[in-house]
């Protein structure tokens, strides 16, 4: 009996200690507890210049919510790293309104339930002013949550067309990556008019992201007069897709569009190479990573096509980000990981607070659209936080040009690219730009 009681006490003690620690984190806005908790001492915000902290002890908490575990985990690490780059850059430039940003993380476990739990923790315990990052399924669970808590949620990778019309100023929902609906238009156009495909077979993984992208491609490809001769749905998690690919290539397609996540795409590319299947193959944008090429092997990945959104004239923002990211992490970013979208989201949120003169979620929501696209023709284009902050201090209106593209939010909190680059893996396994196409050449979505 004594043993039993001991265990009950131990369990109770564990919970109490946990709760106490939690309370400590919750109250971390006060400067005194902040230094004492491990969570704040280690975060990137406070590793920076002491001058910033001296100016004003209070940090501005900002959250990044990603699938650190689960199916989205391959993306989570690079995305979180990009958020770190942004926060460190902002803090090095003196922080927002003289206060350093402090980055908190929440694991949405790549799903809905985890998404809700992570957001509850970030908003209620960490008191973040904004959440950056959640993928399609998690963010759809947070539509009302964002507005009710006055915390803007900025997705940087959710492609779902469900977000096309629900966000924007006043709704506290944004995304800095392009919707699948938008990407579908350009991919279909590029496939048909640039790559000469008239008949296409679509391979689609049965997951939310892949289905959404694949459907959008098919809809738009047919809308511009192309033919989808077949659609083959594949399940995630298989080692081989031999029979599925046989069903596709028995029809001798000259062009295959593949909407699949990284592991599935790797398996498909390997199979395609092993069996010597020919024809062109185009993938959705998130497989545009070096890991896809490494996983499949450069021989098998050679020829793989994707598209990505780029800036209109030059790639100043992208080049700038590549340098920042490489300096911090020792390896370059890749467009398929949504790192640039994430960097842009954090900088935009910081600039919105700077423009509002207030560090709150409501302030971000009110100014986010303005700083993303400027308020008039006299708006000054800026590419980084420091620049933007200086222009704002001079009383100018700014138009942030991101590293992922122009990043101009429309009334629904969505962006559309100015131009699309057609990318291909060359013989040595490098991603190269085949061609850049202006969005204005494309038909209306």
């Amino acid at each position: 009996m004594g043993k039993r009681r001991l265990l009950a006490v131990a369990l109770a003690a564990f919970l109490v200690v946990g709760l106490a620690l939690a309370a400590g984190c919750g109250g971390s806005e006060t400067a005194t507890t902040q230094a004492s908790t491990a969570s704040t001492a280690e975060t990137v915000g406070s590793t920076d210049t002491t001058a910033v902290e001296a100016a004003s002890g209070q940090t501005i908490p900002i959250g990044v919510e990603l699938g650190f575990t689960g199916d989205m985990a391959p993306w989570a690490e690079p995305i979180a790293n990009a958020a770190v780059v942004a926060v460190e850059e902002i803090n090095a430039a003196g922080g927002v309104l003289g206060r350093p940003l402090e980055l908190f993380t929440g694991d949405d476990e790549s799903g809905v339930e985890g998404g809700v739990r992570a957001a509850q923790k970030l908003v209620n315990v960490n008191k973040v002013v904004s959440i950056v990052g959640p993928e399609s399924n998690p963010i759809m669970a947070l539509l009302d949550f964002a507005k009710e808590n006055q915390v803007p949620i900025i997705s940087t990778s959710a492609g779902t067309s469900g977000l096309d019309k629900v966000g924007g100023q006043g709704n506290f929902i944004y995304r800095t990556n392009a919707s699948d609906s938008f990407i579908g238009v350009s991919e279909a156009w590029i496939a048909k008019n640039e790559l000469g495909a008239n008949e296409v077979i679509v391979i689609m993984e049965s997951t939310e992201g892949a289905t959404s992208a694949g459907e959008s491609f098919m809809r738009n490809f047919e809308a511009i007069g192309g033919t989808i001769t077949d659609k083959v749905t594949v399940n995630p998690g298989q080692a081989k897709y031999s029979s599925e690919l046989k069903a596709v290539y028995d029809q001798n397609p000259s062009f295959v569009y593949m909407s699949a996540s990284q592991p599935v795409a790797i398996a498909i590319l390997k199979e395609r190479y092993e069996k010597g299947y020919g024809g062109q193959i185009m993938g959705s944008s998130e497989i545009q990573t070096p890991e896809t090429v490494e996983g499949a092997g450069p021989e098998a990945a050679a020829g793989l096509l994707t598209t990505r959104i780029v800036e209109l004239t030059d790639s100043q923002g992208w080049d700038r980000f590549v340098k920042l990211y490489s300096d911090r992490w020792g390896e370059p970013p890749s467009p398929g990981y949504y790192q640039s979208n994430t960097y842009d989201a954090v900088v935009l949120a910081a600039l919105a607070m700077e423009a509002a003169g207030e560090a709150s979620g409501a302030a971000i929501d009110q100014y986010l659209t303005d700083v993303s696209r400027g308020t008039g023709s006299d708006s000054v284009k800026v590419w980084g936080f420091e620049e933007g902050k200086a222009e704002l201090a001079n009383g100018n209106s700014i138009n942030f040009e991101g590293s992922s593209g122009p990043c101009d939010f429309n009334e629904y909190g969505n962006i559309s690219g100015a131009a699309n680059a057609v990318m291909q893996v060359d013989e040595s396994g490098e991603w190269i730009v085949l061609k850049t196409i202006l969005t204005s050449e494309l038909p209306a979505g």
């Binding site: 265990l7 009950a8 369990l11 919970l15 946990g18 709760l19 620690l21 939690a22 309370a23 984190c25 919750g26 491990a38 969570s39 280690e42 975060t43 990137v44 990044v64 990603l66 650190f68 575990t69 985990a73 989570a76 690490e77 979180a80 790293n81 958020a83 770190v84 926060v87 908190f104 993380t105 929440g106 694991d107 799903g111 809905v112 339930e113 809700v116 739990r117 992570a118 509850q120 923790k121 908003v123 209620n124 315990v125 008191k127 399924n137 759809m140 669970a141 539509l143 009302d144 009710e148 779902t160 067309s161 469900g162 096309d164 049965s206 997951t207 939310e208 289905t211 959404s212 749905t233």
Partner: protein, 333 residues
């Protein structure tokens, strides 16, 4: 305005209530009765989708589901219970004559097939994109910042009602009969019980409870997608009742609250965003360690089942044995 930490706790407790309901359902068929069901998520999913289809409005332009009745939420909850019962009946009819591990794998296979159907039959479920912005009960009647507490109270009220109902059934002749079947099915059959009929009824009761839990899960998430209904729900439910104490309803509820609260407390230790992925994985490792430790030093669960005292059988059951019948014969050291 409630302090942030309280709101976080309320959210945790709300989710724990959902898992407590699933655990109660599973505990009834697996603990009170002796069915090794590795497909309790089937009932849960059926309930959640029945609720969603009954209560959701017509599709928006991005969605492709055909049904969507927009009925009141309480009808949805009744429908959820009904759907759970129906699925339990159908699976039970087919597979209840199977024993232990064979039943385990058949129910598991059914759960996988059902999830594939939910994923692929888009006219019914809207496929992987699912349905979102699902209504929550009494939402419009309360202030926004008070509502989380209201939702928690609603779910706790459901939990209490279900708990009392299951407790009563457990203590009644029906529950005793299930206990007897669990302990020794052949003997019970000799005593005039029809095992199959009892098992089917206990599975259907579990189905109804898990179905209601499914509706509650939709309230918590406000989104329904097939990805939510993987077998990890089943594994969590099993873990909860084994940790809580197999066969004990109080243990099932306590187990659910312990597990969810432990997970959420571990969420609070975010050391540094530069190693967030590593920390998230390590957190899962810690949960694994805790589970192993509880089972090692508390193998009958935190709240072991109180066995009715029949003077003679008491002596036959070794003190540290888990449920008899689950005890492996001849593997003692």
């Amino acid at each position: 305005m409630m302090p942030g930490f309280v709101l976080f706790l309320i959210s945790s407790l709300t989710l724990a209530t959902v898992y407590a309901l699933v655990a109660l359902a599973l505990n009834f068929e697996a603990g009170v009765d002796g069915l090794w069901d590795l497909g309790v998520v089937s009932f849960f999913a059926a309930g959640a989708y029945a609720y969603a289809i009954l209560t959701v409005g017509p599709p928006d332009q991005m969605q492709v589901y055909r049904l969507g009745f927009g009925l009141p939420l309480w009808i949805g909850v009744i429908g959820a219970a009904g759907a759970g019962t129906l699925v339990a009946y159908l699976i039970g009819r087919a597979s209840l004559h199977l024993k232990h591990v064979y039943y385990l794998i058949t129910t598991f296979a059914f759960a996988e097939v059902i999830r594939e159907v939910l994923t692929n039959e888009r006219w019914l479920t809207n496929g992987t994109a699912g349905m979102y912005r699902m209504a929550q009960p009494f939402k419009s009647s309360f202030e926004t910042n008070l509502y989380p507490l209201v939702l928690l109270l609603v779910m706790v009220a459901i939990l209490v009602v279900v708990f009392i109902a299951l407790n009563r059934v457990t203590k009644r002749p029906f529950g005793r009969a299930l206990n007897a079947l669990r302990e020794n099915e052949d003997l019970a059959a000799t005593a005039g019980m029809a095992p199959y009929r009892y098992h089917l009824r206990s599975a259907m009761i579990a189905g109804a409870v898990a179905g209601i839990a499914g509706a509650c899960y939709v309230w918590f998430n406000t989104v329904i997608v097939p990805q939510q209904f993987t077998s990890s729900i089943t594994f969590v439910a099993w873990t909860v009742i084994v940790v809580g104490g197999l066969g004990n309803n109080r243990g099932a509820v306590l187990g659910a609250f312990l597990l969810i609260l432990t997970e959420d407390v571990l969420r609070l230790f975010d050391l540094s965003s530069t190693v967030a992925v590593r920390v998230a994985s390590a957190r899962v490792a810690v949960i694994g360690l805790i589970l192993m430790a509880v089972l090692r030093w508390r193998p009958r669960g935190v709240l072991p089942e109180k066995r009715p005292r029949f003077s003679r059988s008491e002596a036959l059951v070794p003190a540290e044995a888990p449920a008899q019948g689950l005890q492996q014969v001849g593997s003692g050291e």
